[in-house]
Amino acid sequence: MIGEAISSPCLSARGIWKIFGNRPRRALEMADTGASRAEVREATGCTIGARDVSFDALHGETFVIMGLSGSGKSTLLRCVARLSPLSRGSVILEGEDLTAMTEAELRSVRRAKLSMVFQHFGLFWHRRVIDNVAYGLEVQGVDRKTRHSKAEEMLDLVGLEGCGGSYPHQLSGGMQQRVGLARALVVEPTVLFFDEPFSALDPLIRRDMQDELLRIQTGIGGTVIFVTHDFDEAIKLGDRIAVMKDGEFDQVGTAAELIMNPATEYVEEFVKGVPRVKVLRVGDVLTELDGPAPPQRVPAGESLETVLPLLVANTDDIAVLDDHGTAVGRIDRAAVTRLIQPQP
């Protein structure tokens, strides 16, 4: 949806484990022999926050980790961002193992490549907006003039022209998170972490912010790791979505993959409420051409909703075109019928 240069892995998580409690080693041993979350808790008092989670976020991709509260999504993000120590596993950023670094090495990687937007904004309330945004540059030792001019640019980008002199508490919630966003973007990060950034905002502002993020992301094109509890948000923003439950990934895939083939009942629960025809694209309901391409043609990226009238209007096959205009298949009417039927 957003990605243009999706290719090689940018950030890889390898076998991440996070155990909370006083006896992590014992808990790990138990879990290795297959003990469940509840059993481990019963025996050791430890909670498994993340259980052997691995994923690759590709360059330019928005990778969404979706889960309800207690699913371990924020725990996982904090481990990957190296804000909290992990019990086992490694995090590889462009070939460098973040988990094997000294604090000083990690710091220089952070200065050069990482950035984060927080749920409750994590703003510095004692600093003016401009100094909040410029903070990342300030700790790098960038001189005042340069960092202020860059920060001003960022403020313009997120729609906060002229707010630099205010203090964050003088702004509305949505504007505060824009400050958070500008602050994260100003350092031109390779990877941007978002920890439920919009969940503290009211629904309309949340939608604005999502649109804003999509717009900015198209222009900047870094890798985004985005944590949310909102499935609609996940679908809207994510190139790929990982559905997380009890510290593990239930399923990882594009929105269409999740909707068409939910791997577990849990995922199915989320998929149920989604307006499929709005989310799915023509390319998602493709079947092979059996003969020459019919005259009726639509691009693969077209939303299913917009071609529904066409499908209803006549019974002819409709060809689907890829980006280059070659026909790659036809719309599978049976699949569409299944999709628009009411859910059991």
Partner: protein, 641 residues
């Protein structure tokens, strides 16, 4: 499943019930038995000399080697001269500057933050001591307090920061801080005298020790209270720890740290009078003098000067941080103001308007003396009766009963039983150890004496504080009327209101009792009011919807829900009464207080240690026990916020 849980729960309860009932018979029997065995035996004061003798020896050694040993020549003497140079410089500068420059400078400095009202209040407050002829002594005290506060901040903030990051360090210093706040200040006056002699320097350092805990605690609290996400944001941008601390944590914790500094200022002013025992001079000495002259009016005049300093320092402290860059005055304005001040100094010096012009003296307040004298002469029927009732119907008989008639093991065992009943064997053991050690070092009788007085002061304070506090919590107007009174009671040196008490009731137990009540009642009232106010409206409305009378709502809902907070107030009342033990000793209260004062005055290090130890032990027992009572009566934490 363990074996215990498979047992029939009813039979378990029955066993526990039976045991509990048996205790009601066993414990009294044991107490009677102890009484019978130990009645009339001598107190086992085996450790009477164990600690005090070596300390006295050390003090003697220190006295002799003051000029030769490295401890003094390398550490204490240079430290003394450093602090004393600082003090003298501040004092001389403030007296060198023409007097009228000081209020103007204070005004400008605070006005910088646009806090006009507090700028005006502070500059007027600093003029007051001059009006009543106390300018020079006030400056003397101001220098000492300023020095002590600056040192407290310089020492306290780093310690607090360290404690915020190192759990181990925090756990290590916590009991030390507790002790520093519990030990009545004069107790560490004794070692101060030993190392630094008498004068403003040991007074400053003692003030620093006494006033340090709030800065440390609130710095730790403030740093820990900084939103974790802000710290993480800083970390994510690759800030070093030092950068995060300097740019994020300290600035964000600053309001809390400053609250600590304000408390430290108040604490420092709290011992301004006691510091005269160390030769601090200044306003404290003036208050002491008025006490010996029994001049209430002059005492009040001097006390108000202390309040004035408190107000000035408090507002200056706020002005140090209360500055938004958005509202900062321009560089030009600052330059003009600084230039103006310098101009005024030159003008004042050259025109010789330096000393505060003589206006009134503290004599201006003498009419108050007449009022007190009138009360003494005409209220004798009451004061005499009150004095006699307290002394001959309560204090003397109870003290004598506890020291002479009840055998010591009975008292200790009772305290242990009480501790076990309240909180379990740990508290019982603590009580036994604390009281046992008081006994062994030979402080038993003095402690009983003090204890009897403390109990009287605590009970009377609570009887007064709770109804007043409840009323204040219910009615905004009562609270508004009480607030300045409570503030005054906490800032005016307690010796000031001891003066009329001494005039009315003569030297003895009663003036100390009254002063203790007046001083300690404040947190009792405040926390009772707070507790009542915090009761959720919904609970009250629920009670009213069931048709409860206001009385039923008060005793059935409000007070039980406020019990936890009210008990926190009771605990503070106890601690403040203990802090007043020494002051009471100054006016004939006897007991540990008197011994402390004589130990300081005569530099009896061993005795000072023993008395201090006894007071601290008593404080620990009373503190833990009252907290245990609070836990028992308190409703479970209300989760409605």
């Amino acid at each position: 499943m363990t074996a215990a849980t498979t047992l029939d729960p009813d039979s378990l309860n029955a066993t526990a019930d039976w045991q509990r009932r048996a205790m009601w018979i066993v414990v009294p029997l044991a107490l009677v038995g102890l009484q019978l065995i130990f009645a009339g035996t001598r107190l086992p004061e085996h450790l009477d000399e164990t600690f005090s003798d070596p300390l006295d020896d050390f003090a003697g050694w220190a006295q002799q080697n003051r000029s030769s040993n490295w401890l003094f020549t390398v550490i204490f003497r240079p430290l003394t001269s450093l602090v004393s140079t600082g003090l003298e410089t501040i004092e001389e500068t403030l007296l060198w500057v023409p007097w009228f420059v000081i209020p103007i400078a204070i005004f400008l400095y605070i006005a910088r933050t646009r806090a006009w009202k507090s700028a005006i209040a502070a500059s007027l407050a600093i003029i007051y001591p001059g009006l009543v002829g106390l300018w020079e002594v006030t400056i003397e005290t101001l220098a000492l307090m300023g020095m002590a506060i600056v040192l407290s901040v310089l020492i306290g903030v780093p310690i607090g920061v360290l404690a915020a990051f190192r759990r181990g360090f925090d756990t290590a210093i916590r009991p030390v801080l507790d002790a520093m706040q519990t030990i009545p200040a004069p107790v560490y006056f004794v070692p101060m005298v030993m190392f630094f002699g008498i004068g403003p320097v040991p007074a400053t350092l003692a003030t620093v020790i006494y006033a340090l805990p709030p800065v440390v605690r609130l710095t730790t609290l403030g740093i820990r209270g900084v939103a974790q996400q802000s710290v993480e944001a800083s970390t994510m941008f690759g800030a070093t720890r030092w950068q995060t601390l300097r740019k994020v944590q300290i600035p964000m914790a600053l309001p809390t740290i400053m609250a600590g500094v304000t408390q430290t200022i108040m604490m420092a002013l709290g011992i301004v009078v006691l510091a005269t025992l160390l030769g601090a001079g200044g306003l404290g000495q003036s208050v002491m003098d008025t006490l010996s002259q029994r001049r209430t009016g002059r005492g009040v005049a001097t006390g108000l000067a202390v309040v004035a300093i408190a107000a000035v320092l408090d507002r200056l402290g706020r002005a140090v941080v209360g500055q938004d860059r958005a509202t900062a005055p321009s560089r030009r304005t600052v330059l003009i103001c600084v230039g103006g001040v310098i101009g005024l100094i030159i003008f004042g010096r050259s025109a010789n308007y330096i000393a505060f012009p003589e206006m009134w003296e503290t004599r201006a307040f003498d009419p108050i003396d007449d009022g007190v004298k009138w009360a003494r002469d005409n209220l004798r029927w009451f004061t005499r009766a009150f004095n006699d009732t307290v002394v001959s119907w309560y204090y003397v008989p109870v003290r004598d009963y506890l020291t002479d008639s009840v055998a010591w093991p009975v008292i200790i065992a009772s305290a242990a039983a009480l501790g076990a009943w309240l909180k379990g064997w740990r508290l019982a053991l603590l009580n036994v150890c604390a009281m046992g050690s008081i006994l062994l070092i030979g402080m038993w009788e003095l402690s009983i004496d003090t204890f009897v007085q403390v109990v009287a002061a605590v009970v009377l304070s609570i009887l007064l504080a709770i109804p007043v506090g409840v009323a204040a919590g219910r009615h905004r107007r009562v609270e508004a009327a009480l607030s300045p009174v409570l503030d005054a009671l906490q800032t005016i040196p307690s010796l000031v209101y001891i003066i009329p008490a001494v005039t009315l009731f003569t030297i003895g137990v009663v003036p100390g009792l009254i002063a203790s009540i007046l001083y300690a009642i404040v947190p009792g009232v405040r926390l009772a009011a707070l507790g009542i106010k915090q009761v959720p409206t919904e609970s009250v409305e629920a009670s009213q919807m069931f048709g409860a009378t206001p009385r039923q709502t008060m005793f059935g809902v409000r007070i039980p829900l406020a019990a936890r907070t009210i008990m926190a107030g009771v605990n503070q009342v106890i601690m403040l009464v203990l802090a007043m033990v020494i002051i009471s000793g100054l006016v004939g209260g006897g007991g540990l207080g008197f011994e402390t004062i004589s130990a300081v005055k005569n530099s009896e290090v061993g005795l000072g240690f023993e008395v201090g130890f006894a007071i601290v032990m008593m404080a620990i027992v009373l503190d833990r026990s009252s907290q245990a009572i609070a836990d028992r009566v308190g409703a479970p934490e209300v989760a409605a916020h």
